[in-house]
């Protein structure tokens, strides 16, 4: 009974959390708790992988929750895939935390919540009825909220936590309504919903987008994400960005692919469009950031966009009864989910390590860390290459599949899709290029050049365990990029379940085949070997033939040496051309330069202003409205007794009049 094992994991983790709450202040608690957490997560990973391999579907019902329904659990291919993501992420994050957590100032605010958080995410994935799902989902939100506000001395974190929890509540209620619409006659089991599909597909999909999408961070609901994710400690940011957003994606997939039954192509149109916009704007936001963790959080938004585009295409192909293409798109989405969880966790670990080493996340205060933190730098570089979708790493593999799926849009019957998907593909290519630019910026400004602050100069390499965790993830990125076939095979059952078809089997070595029809193939292995071979060859030739004499000297400084190290190319200056070209349209970016009068020794001022439309049009008005209404209603606290009597009287008369007229 794998399902039992899959439930045992969360149970143990919850117990661990309770235990941790009591001992968290002890010196040994950190290592012990996280170690145990990692072990449990690894066990869960093993369970999930076995479930994927023998592709069986197991269900279990416990007499908990709503009495006449009970708590239903189900371990099928889809759940197993996401169990892999959750537990892998959880395991590595715990491993990283063993080292990272030692620097935690108030561990009692972090240590107990992490195992429970991982457990809740496990539960979401295996739950099989609306109540259980939302129960676990909201537990997940609350626990992650507790982690977001764990550094509660900074009011910014508290604000982020507030916005986060409000959005989480919004999402949960949206999903609640969504399930209520789908549940016929108060039967909240997913089985029942599967049985008779969705009555109002449009409404259900919209609600699923609002509910799961707000958690995943689709535009324009994303605005909480770059506030909340960076506020948490490094390993938690990794969990939230790398794993929790995937759980949200899981919720969306579960509803749209599994529970709704057949979906009309027009809905896929919406999903693709939203995904594309999210991807582009996410990466553009990211380019404008100079807070490393916030930059990474915005990249999460971008990747979620890519995933949603792929999912939308899968829906479209499925609606058009093109199973092969649908399988390709779905597998691409799932594979990208997996990959993103790898490299995003890796990058957040790197950011956490940097924050520990230098005490800042502002990359304009960093620089030259590649010398002080060489191994972290290497790991971060691998992560950056992967997320920039460069061969032969995993990011490229999954994006290659997405593009291949897009190229099949020609065979779709609907004009709308045939025109939308190429555009979306172009946007994805654009965002990939922007992502590359963004990570040249992030890596270059953070690790290369010269240190911009004393903290950066004094930085030291992080501890061994943290590096081990990062190394593991970097290795994962490489393996998943070099032998993607192995992973797409694993995803086969899931795609079978979602689209009634699966990608052609590719054994580990032989290249990846998107669909049998066209003969496209991608062999990460050969590309990697080719690159390595060519590199070695070139290196060897140069070594043999060229002059090996090398002299170290100063950088050429055009004759006037830079005194101020801050005068190096900064994040803002690197992004300036892109800001001019794109952001002026996207966020109405404006640049103003105040030049002092001639012979005035005052420094010139350069200010660039951005407008976050999502925030200004969506979030701020809500706050304003509530504040306004609250102010307007507040006097009701101060009325005289006579006025209160008057209100009672009016209420009475109104009700009686209504009775006299209408009843």
């Amino acid at each position: 009974m794998l399902i039992l094992a899959a439930l045992l994991g969360p149970a143990v983790l919850f117990g661990l959390a309770l235990l941790a709450a009591t001992v968290s202040r002890r010196r040994w608690a950190n290592a012990a708790v996280y170690g145990a957490c990692a072990l449990v997560a690894v066990a869960g990973l093993a369970v999930a992988v076995t479930a994927l391999l023998n592709g069986s579907t197991e269900t279990l019902t416990l007499p908990l929750g709503i009495p006449w329904i009970g708590m239903h659990f189900r371990l099928d291919a889809l759940a197993a895939v996401f169990l892999v993501v959750v537990n892998l992420g959880g395991a590595v994050a715990s491993l990283f935390a063993i080292g990272y957590g030692r620097h935690e100032t108030s561990p009692e605010r972090v240590v107990p919540f992490v195992p429970a958080f991982i457990a809740a995410m496990n539960l979401v994935v295996v739950s099989d009825d609306a109540f259980t799902f939302l129960f676990a989902w909201e537990c997940m939100s609350v626990l992650s909220w507790a982690l977001v506000v764990s550094h509660d001395r900074d009011p910014q974190n508290l604000r982020a936590g507030l916005i986060y929890v409000a959005m989480a509540g919004f999402g949960t209620f949206a999903l609640m309504i969504c399930f209520a619409v789908m549940a016929a006659g108060g039967d909240f089991t997913f089985a029942a919903m599967r049985a008779h599909g969705a009555g109002l597909p449009g409404l259900v999909l919209a609600l699923a987008l609002l509910g799961a999408g707000s958690k995943a961070g689709i535009f324009p609901l994303h605005a909480w994400l770059p506030l909340a994710h960076p506020a948490a400690p490094g390993h938690v940011s990794a969990l939230m960005s790398g794993v929790m957003t995937k759980v949200a994606v899981y919720g969306f997939i579960r509803i749209t692919f599994d529970l709704m039954g057949p979906v009309d192509w027009t809905l896929s149109l919406a999903v693709i469009a939203i995904g594309a916009v999210t991807a582009l704007l996410g990466v553009l936001y990211a380019l404008m950031q100079h807070d490393l963790k916030r930059l990474l959080a915005y990249h999460t938004v971008e990747n979620i966009g890519i995933i949603f585009v792929a999912l939308g295409m899968a829906l479209a192909f499925r609606a058009a009864h093109l199973p092969a293409a649908a399988a390709l798109a779905a597998t691409a989405a799932l594979f990208h989910v997996f990959n993103h969880s790898l490299f995003k966790s890796l990058l957040f670990f790197g950011a956490g390590a940097i924050q520990n080493a230098t005490g800042t996340r502002d990359i304009d205060r960093l620089g030259g860390l590649i010398r002080t933190m060489p191994q972290t730098a290497l790991a971060f570089l691998i992560g950056a290459t992967a997320i920039s979708a460069l061969p032969p790493l995993n990011g490229f593999a999954s994006e290659w599949m997405v593009f291949q799926a897009a190229f099949l849009s020609g065979s779709l019957p609907q004009w709308g899709l045939r025109l939308l998907i190429p555009t979306a593909a172009a946007i994805l290519a654009l965002s990939a290029a922007l992502a590359a630019a963004c990570f040249v910026k992030a890596f270059g400004v953070t690790f290369l050049g010269r240190a911009r602050s004393a903290a950066a100069t004094a930085a030291r390499e992080t501890d061994r365990v943290s590096r081990l965790a990062m190394a593991a993830l970097a290795g994962g990125c490489i393996v998943a990029g070099v032998v993607p076939g192995f992973f797409t095979n694993l995803l086969g059952p899931a795609s079978q379940m979602l689209t009634t078809a699966r990608m052609p089997i590719a054994n580990a070595v032989s290249p990846l085949v998107p669909v049998a029809a066209n003969h496209n193939t991608y062999s990460g292995l050969i590309i990697a070997l080719g690159l390595i071979g060519a590199t070695l060859l070139v290196a060897a030739l140069v070594h043999l033939l060229a002059n090996r004499a090398t002299r170290r000297s100063d950088t050429w400084d055009c004759g006037h040496p830079e005194i101020n190290l801050l005068a190096q190319y900064s994040a803002g200056s690197f992004a300036q051309p892109i800001r001019r070209v794109y952001a002026s349209i996207a966020f109405g970016a404006r640049e103003t330069v105040e030049m002092p009068a001639p012979c005035d020794l005052a420094p010139a001022k350069f200010t660039a202003t951005l407008h976050d439309s999502a925030w200004e049009l969506l979030y701020a008005p809500v706050g304003k409205t509530i504040g306004f209404l609250a102010d307007r209603l507040n006097p009701f606290q101060y009325l005289t007794i006579r006025a209160y009597l008057g209100i009672v009287f009016v209420a009475l008369v109104l009700l009686l009049t209504g009775l006299a007229i209408w009843s």
């Binding site: 555009t423 029809a517 496209n520 080719g530 690159l531 060519a534 190096q568 001019r580």
Partner: protein
């Protein structure tokens, strides 16, 4: 037997591109000189330059990290692999399975990534300036490239170069318009990607106008040589890409006689020369444009490619 032949072909291909790359650059320079009423250096000058650079002592800044020293090798390697994947004079079945257009774009992107990092490594303003501009151009070039690939894959039903070439060889009437648009788009992209006039001027060293040169400003000796070689390779790559996609005629099919291979080689050389002359002519004709005009320039390419794709939907009744 067949295996060995494909292997030989692949190796031959690899060696060939590496060998011909400086020549192409040389021809371009020579032609430009001629058009400018100068005698100009011989078409083999690039070989000599690279050789000299290789012989020179290399100077590395104190602030350089291993990225700076490793980048040139990687850049050349990546470009080389990419260039090898493009069939030049004959079908290369050994490489066909991986000769995927997106992969080639990806490899070039990887090379660019490394180059930009190297530009930032020293921490001089030039490097950063060059890197950020290079990445800006990339952000416009890559979607356009992808659109072109999209169009081609719609025509050929695949993104594998070999089969695209085969399809175009047996062109269906009605596709010409899209092909033409895609061709123009790709040509413009080639200009952007290789930093030729009007986008960038490989011959200038005026700080404010340069892009590519700004990134490699700190390089010297063997590193510079490798980068120069990679530049030349990239140019060759694009030329042979255009050649194989839009004028695949004369491409020697796999497993044909030596004579056929020879023929294909001859045809390929002719293609190279013609391309070089055209490029030189256009460079003479145009002047370098402002950096912030470049996105518009590449944007035109994107529009053309998009148009090509949409026209395909019209011309084809799916």
């Amino acid at each position: 037997m067949v295996v060995s032949e494909t292997l030989i072909l692949a190796i031959l291909q690899a060696v060939l591109v590496m060998a011909l790359a400086p020549l192409l650059t040389g021809i371009v320079r020579k032609t430009k000189a001629g058009l400018q009423r100068r005698r100009g250096a011989s078409i083999f000058q690039p070989y000599r330059d690279i050789a000299r650079l290789m012989r020179k002592e290399t100077i590395i800044s104190h602030d350089a990290s291993w990225i700076f020293t490793a980048a040139p090798t990687f850049i050349l390697a990546a470009t080389w692999v990419a260039a090898t994947l493009v069939p030049t004079f004959a079908q290369t079945p050994g490489l066909a399975p991986i000769a995927d257009l997106i992969v080639i774009v990806g490899l070039l992107a990887a090379a660019r990534f490394a180059l930009a990092l190297a530009g930032l490594d020293i921490g001089t303003a030039f490097g950063g300036l060059g890197a950020s501009r290079e990445m800006l151009f990339a952000t416009v070039a890559e979607p356009a490239m992808l659109m072109i690939i999209f169009g081609l894959s719609l025509i050929a039903g695949t993104t594998r170069l070999a089969e695209i070439a085969a399809t175009v060889q047996a062109t269906v009437p009605g596709l010409h318009i899209s092909l033409m648009l895609a061709f123009v788009g790709l040509a413009m992209l080639a200009v952007v990607e290789n930093g030729r006039i009007p986008v960038d001027n490989p011959a200038t060293h005026l700080e404010l106008t340069m892009v590519h040169e700004a990134m490699i400003l700190e390089y010297s000796g063997r590193h510079l040589g490798l980068i120069e070689l990679a530049q030349a390779l990239k140019l060759l790559l694009y030329v042979s890409l255009i050649a194989v996609v839009f004028i695949p005629w004369g491409l020697a099919p796999a497993g044909s006689t030596l004579l056929a291979y020879g023929l294909g080689f001859g045809v390929y050389l002719i293609k190279l020369v013609v391309a070089a002359k055209l490029l030189a002519f256009f460079e003479i004709a145009g002047a370098k444009m402002r950096v912030f005009r470049v996105p518009q320039f590449a944007g035109v390419a994107l529009m053309l490619a998009l148009l090509a794709v949409l026209l395909l939907f019209v011309s084809r009744s799916f």
